[in-house]
């Protein structure tokens, strides 16, 4: 008889061993060592064995002792699911990998457009469904402990060593919470993988299988004496015939298969920790083998227990009590350890999976909403996540403990387990619909889950507390609110069904029905539709698409090629060389270690944006498909870059325009400067000629003696004439300068064209030697003008005297025509000479331009001044190309206001 202290010591030793194994595995995983072990298909298969909990270990025997072979359905369902891995599990694992799913709540919520409401619903349902299950594990550990402390009745009287079951359960719960906190939340990983926990679970799987087989071998060969004797004794026992109802056989098989897929802890080890299809196929035969071995000796143990142990002893404890009653303390101890490890592994993984869901879908959204904008440093969030995980683990464990205390540790283990299965199986329609049917919508999933869960609570959970427990006898008899079709065990008046079958059939079928109907009637949001396509077509991505890389791992070559495309060959090579050196490789490409890939992603994100870089690198290295959120982030970045490049384009266009303007301005300035130089040189020349003659003649006058009075008078008159010329030149220059600078003040008066012409002709021809005949039409000259008449006369004088000077006809004649048009008044001055040669026409308005043959009198400024005056007056002066002889046309605007406007504007421009 092992003492309680021994038992506790063994337990502590066992847990310490688990700690060590988990710790070593965690460290090896971090260093990237022992991949062959950590990622072997065997470990994967063994980790699936958390399906076999304390319920399996103790409860299966109790189940068999009560209802024969029915217990085996709990293993047949999962076996069938594993054997049919190709149909459902393969898809689930692929979706889980490509979407980086962290829990079943995450899977369902991301399938239906990352719906937070759905995630919360699934999380809450999972917590409600699994809490009794955790309580069940605590109960099984406490029961088996008490079996040691309080031996079967009749052997020994109760003694001082009897345990307090409440405090024992508390200690167990606290210890398990500690273990889970230590190994489940040591580090944060986006994939939510926990190699340490997986290895610990695998070790526990071996322990419990070994323990149960040991008890079985002891029973079959030690107590019964062989296989054939065993069969004979089984047939002779109370459960010696097949007595399973067909509907229960079918319903329980289905239920266990569904729960196998939907239990949060199973999802954690099967999908989240999965290593790919090959492991799944390995498990497709190895896990059924494990289950078969676990259930192989259940019936013999039950039969022998019923036979040997006193009537009334708890069949759930046959596994421990049978060796104890036979004095086989070693076997009993082993059996206890097996049960202990079944319970602990289940509790650890279940709380881990639930805490991930609670913290990811309930705590973090609330925290982020209340701390908006303050989570600027990633370290902040990380600490909060870890803290919320730990708190969630403790809270869930506390729930389990409270449920255990509240239920008083009563009830057969199998019944509690079945209820829990029924709760989580409600996820099945939404999950399967999500991965097989693109038409499934968020609203549909919410409705299905809600209806199924409500029916489950009403027909399975609440009745489990017994009549008059939560539901009164009235409700059982008359239905809810007196509605006969709402009786918890006879929905819609269908009576006579087994309560479990009734609850499973109604909850799942109403769940699936409302899920499908509401999905058909509702319309999904865009992100939902995208996710639907992603989930349903998850297997199509791998075939024939060159864009998808094998999941086997990052190829440095592929990364190199991609990096070259983004950074350019030289930079990419330099970066890879640097990384290779950092890894201690002399030449060649660096190994695609996580650190390197991270560095590369950082490097690339400098060029293409973080989301794009992540999407690209994970395409190559993770084999993970890009999620819709990733794509949207990429689109955002692209839009920003597009916007930026548009801005750049606009700016560069503006710059080009400005440059062109500057170039034009520069050309103008250069031209002006050139003109100024020309002007200055011409001016100096013009001034120099008269000055030279003035100087020479005045020197003669000063130095020559005995000069005659006639000579003196002749020379003095030459000097005088030259000074007059100089003065006129300076006057003209002054005039031109004033006109060009716009400083001219117009003296506006009214008068007729005829008057102005009269004055001009008289002035121009005064003292003229050669006769010039002027032909005018006085009738048409009676046009009233309102302008600066003096300036206009100046123009006319210049034109008339030019004609007089340059007309080379024998009988020079000037015709002056006046015409009124719609836009103003035209005055043409046309002589009968040869006209101006085409070459010269372009330059006659230039300063200092003189036609050949002119008597050397003018400075060549006349026409330039006239042209300038006309533009001041708002009109213009130009050469008439057509017609014989030299012709100039003076155009005057109709209204003076225009002229004034223009004059004003010009002066403003100059100013």
């Amino acid at each position: 008889m092992a003492s309680l202290n021994q038992l506790v010591a063994v337990c502590l030793l066992y847990v310490a061993g688990l700690f060590l194994i988990a710790f070593l595995a965690e460290r090896a995983a971090q260093r990237g060592q022992s991949r062959w072990l950590l990622r072997s298909p065997l470990v994967y298969t063994l980790s699936l064995s958390i399906y076999c909990t304390g319920w399996t270990f103790y409860g299966a025997v109790g189940f068999a002792a009560r209802s024969g072979l029915e217990y085996v359905t709990i293993y047949l369902g999962p076996s069938l699911v594993m054997i049919g891995w190709w149909w459902v599990l393969r898809r689930l694992v692929q979706v889980g990998r490509s979407q980086r799913v962290t829990s079943i709540a995450d899977l369902i919520s991301s399938r239906y457009g990352k719906s937070n409401a759905l995630a919360i619903a699934v999380t809450v349902m999972a917590v409600i469904g699994v809490t009794p299950y955790i309580a069940l594990q605590l109960q099984s550990v406490v029961l088996s402990l008490s079996a040691f402390a309080d031996p079967a009745p009749g052997q020994q009287p109760p003694q001082a060593g009897q345990i307090n079951s409440a405090s024992a359960a508390l200690w167990v719960a606290a210890g398990l919470a500690l273990f889970t906190v230590l190994f489940g939340t040591r580090n944060l990983n986006v994939n939510e993988r926990h190699p340490g926990v997986v290895i610990a679970v695998a070790v526990e799987a071996v322990v419990k299988l070994f323990a149960l087989l040991a008890v079985g071998v002891f029973v079959v060969w030690g107590l019964m004496g062989g296989v054939s004797e065993t069969f004979a004794r089984i047939d002779a026992s109370a459960i010696g015939t097949w007595q399973v109802q067909g509907d229960r056989w079918l319903a329980l098989t289905m239920l266990s298969g569904a729960a196998f897929l939907c239990l949060p802890r199973m999802f954690q080890v099967m999908v989240v920790e999965s290593e790919g299809e090959r492991h799944l196929q390995f498990a497709s035969w190895a896990f059924p083998l494990y289950l078969m071995l676990m259930s192989l000796f259940v019936v013999p143990i039950a039969v022998v227990g019923l036979d040997l142990l006193p009537a009334g002893s708890n069949p759930d404890l046959f596994v421990v009590n049978l060796p104890l009653s036979q004095g086989q303390n070693g076997v009993a101890m082993l059996a206890f350890l097996g049960g202990f490890s079944s319970a602990t592994s289940m509790v650890i993984v279940a709380t881990l999976a639930l805490s991930t869901m609670v913290s990811n879908h309930i705590v973090m959204p609330i925290w982020l909403a209340t701390h908006q904008g303050r989570a600027t440093q990633s370290g902040d969030v990380r600490n909060v996540v870890i803290l919320s995980r730990r708190l969630s683990i403790m809270v869930i464990m506390a729930f389990g403990y409270l449920y255990y205390r509240a239920s008083g540790g009563s009830g057969a283990l199998a019944a509690i387990g079945t209820i829990s299965f029924g709760g989580v199986a409600q996820f099945l329609p939404a999950m399967l619909g999500g991965i097989f049917w693109r038409g499934a919508t968020r609203i549909g999933a919410l409705c299905g889950l809600g209806v199924g869960f409500a029916v489950w609570v009403f027909t399975m959970l609440l009745p489990s507390f017994g009549t008059d427990g939560v539901l009164s006898q009235d409700i059982f008899d008359q239905g809810l609110m007196g509605l006969a079709w709402l009786r918890p065990q006879a929905f819609f008046g269908v009576e006579g069904l087994d309560p479990t079958v009734h609850a499973v059939v109604w909850s799942l079928s109403l769940n699936a029905f409302s899920f499908v109907v509401v999905s058909l009637l509702s319309f999904p949001s865009p992100i939902e539709r995208l996710q639907a396509a992603h989930f349903v077509n998850v297997l199509d991505g791998g075939t024939g698409s060159a864009r998808r890389w094998s999941a086997a791992g990052a190829g440095s070559e592929e990364l190199m090629i991609m990096t070259q495309r983004i950074l350019g060959a030289q930079d990419a090579q330099a970066f890879f060389r640097k990384e290779a050196e950092a890894q201690g490789l002399r030449d060649g490409l660096p190994d695609p270690s996580p650190k390197f890939v991270q560095a590369l992603e950082r490097e690339l994100s400098g060029s293409v944006g973080a989301a794009t870089a992540h999407a690209m690198v994970s395409q190559i290295s993770g084999g993970a498909a890009v999620s819709v959120e990733d794509l949207m982030a990429v689109a955002d970045e692209s839009a920003q870059m597009l916007e930026y490049s548009n801005q750049l384009e606009t700016k560069s266009r503006e710059l080009t325009e400005t440059a062109a303007q500057l170039r034009r301005a520069n050309e103008k300035l250069t031209e002006l400067s050139r003109q100024k130089d020309t002007f200055l040189s011409q001016i100096s020349h013009e001034l120099r000629t008269p000055m030279t003659s003035i100087r020479s003649f005045s020197e003669i006058l000063r130095d020559a003696e005995g000069m005659s009075a006639d000579d003196k008078s002749k020379y003095a008159s030459i000097i005088h004439g030259e000074t007059i010329r100089l003065t006129r030149l300076l006057d003209d220059l002054l005039d031109l300068s004033v006109l060009e600078n716009g400083q001219v003040t117009l003296n506006i008066r009214s008068g007729t064209v005829g008057d102005v012409l009269d004055r001009a002709v008289t002035t121009a021809l005064a003292g003229a030697e050669a006769p010039l005949r002027i032909r005018r039409q006085p009738r048409r000259e009676n046009v009233v003008l309102r302008t600066d008449l003096d300036r206009l006369a100046q123009v006319f004088i210049n034109l008339v005297s030019n004609a007089q000077k340059y007309c080379d006809a024998d009988a020079p004649e000037l015709r002056i025509d006046v015409r009124e048009t719609e836009t103003g008044t035209w005055i043409d001055f046309i002589d009968n000479g040869q006209g101006i040669s085409p070459d010269a026409r372009n330059v006659i308005f230039e300063k200092f331009h003189r036609l050949e043959g002119a008597g050397g009198e003018g400075a060549g400024l006349g026409l330039a001044i006239c042209s300038e005056i006309m533009s001041r007056l708002g009109g213009r002066l130009f050469y008439l190309e057509d017609g014989p002889g030299t012709g100039f046309r003076v155009e005057l605007p109709d209204r003076l206001s225009a002229a004034e406007d223009i004059a004003a504007r010009r002066s403003a421009e100059v100013a």
């Binding site: 024969g68 072979l69 085996v72 047949l76 076996s79 069938l80 054997i83 049919g84 190709w86 149909w87 069969f231 004979a232 089984i234 047939d235 026992s237 459960i239 010696g240 015939t241 097949w242 007595q243 399973v244 109802q245 067909g246 056989w249 079918l250 098989t253 299809e277 090959r278 196929q281 390995f282 497709s284 035969w285 190895a286 059924p288 083998l289 078969m292 192989l296 019936v299 297997l539 791998g542 075939t543 024939g544 094998s550």
Partner: protein, 90 residues
């Protein structure tokens, strides 16, 4: 030999595809075999009840068959990644 190599390869690929078919269909065999007990009489139906030892032998026998066939198929389909196009029809 060079000419016959493709024939050999085709045949092997054909085999691999049929193996994958078997993987897919095995679950249906399992369902069919494990649902046979639905036809066994229960006490009260009249007729001889099925003895427990026979029921145990049958159910665990099916289990062993499933495991062995699964193992054989696992060894016979070494790299289904090569033959993903066989998905046709699913």
């Amino acid at each position: 030999m060079a000419e016959r190599a493709p024939v050999f390869l085709e045949r092997r690929r054909y085999r691999a595809r049929r193996m994958m078919d078997a993987v897919r269909l095995l679950a249906f065999l399992g369902i069919a075999l494990w649902m046979v007990p639905l036809m066994w009489g229960v006490p009260g139906d009249g007729g001889a009840p099925m003895p427990m030892s026979a029921a145990l032998r049958y159910i665990f026998g099916v289990w062993v068959v499933m495991v062995v066939v699964g193992l054989v198929l696992y060894r016979r389909t070494p790299m289904q990644a090569d033959d993903r196009p066989t998905d046709g029809g699913s």
